[in-house]
Amino acid sequence: MNKLIKIDSNVTVQQALDFVEGPDCGGVVVFSGNVRNVTKEKKVTRLFFECYEPMALLEMEKIADYTIEEMGVKRIAILHIVGEKQPGEVVVVIAVAAPHRAAAFDACEYAIDTLKETVPIWKKEYFEDGEVWVAAHP
């Protein structure tokens, strides 16, 4: 298997690394996305992530397939959480192994950029005085 696609209540960098590493690839690039504690100068107290899981998994597969078929990637792991999180906790991990490191950097950045545009996952931020679905309104 050359791709690991997963939506779970917890994800770690290590499980992504363990999947993609191998002596056939000189370099691994990992993106780890964490919850920030401040949005537009307001303190975030907690977060909630909801997803349309079967479609989210398909969209994540599409991203993985593109990096393997078109970007020179050997193995890729795309992991995303759902449920409640605290600021600082890991939300998403993408790990990419490729024989050439420039390809690994490009593919990892492509994967996180595309995930944020196409994968049906929604984040709600809770503040001391309210809550908001992120990016919902112009």
Partner: protein, 76 residues
């Protein structure tokens, strides 16, 4: 036809699943949604997925389709 809603669209509709009858295209579904829930028009975008794939307005809807309302995503 059952329609799944997520995120803010679910909050606006007040339910995770709603039902509509006699809608045969994505464009018709979009009009029906905007009439029933005008707040949906204020969102930054609103996509419709049919059978877990993003659909275009001209796409036709079949009775057994899995239809979902996708407000602006914010994963990652």
């Amino acid at each position: 036809m059952r329609i799944l809603l997520f995120g803010i669209a679910k909050d606006i509709a007040g339910a995770p699943v709603i039902t509509a009858e006699g809608i045969t295209s994505v464009a018709a579904l979009r009009s029906w949604l905007y009439t029933k829930y005008p707040s949906l028009e204020q969102l930054r975008s609103l996509m419709i997925a049919v059978n877990k794939v993003y659909a275009n307005d001209e796409d036709v809807l079949q009775p057994g389709d899995e239809v979902a309302v996708i407000p602006p995503v914010s994963g990652g």
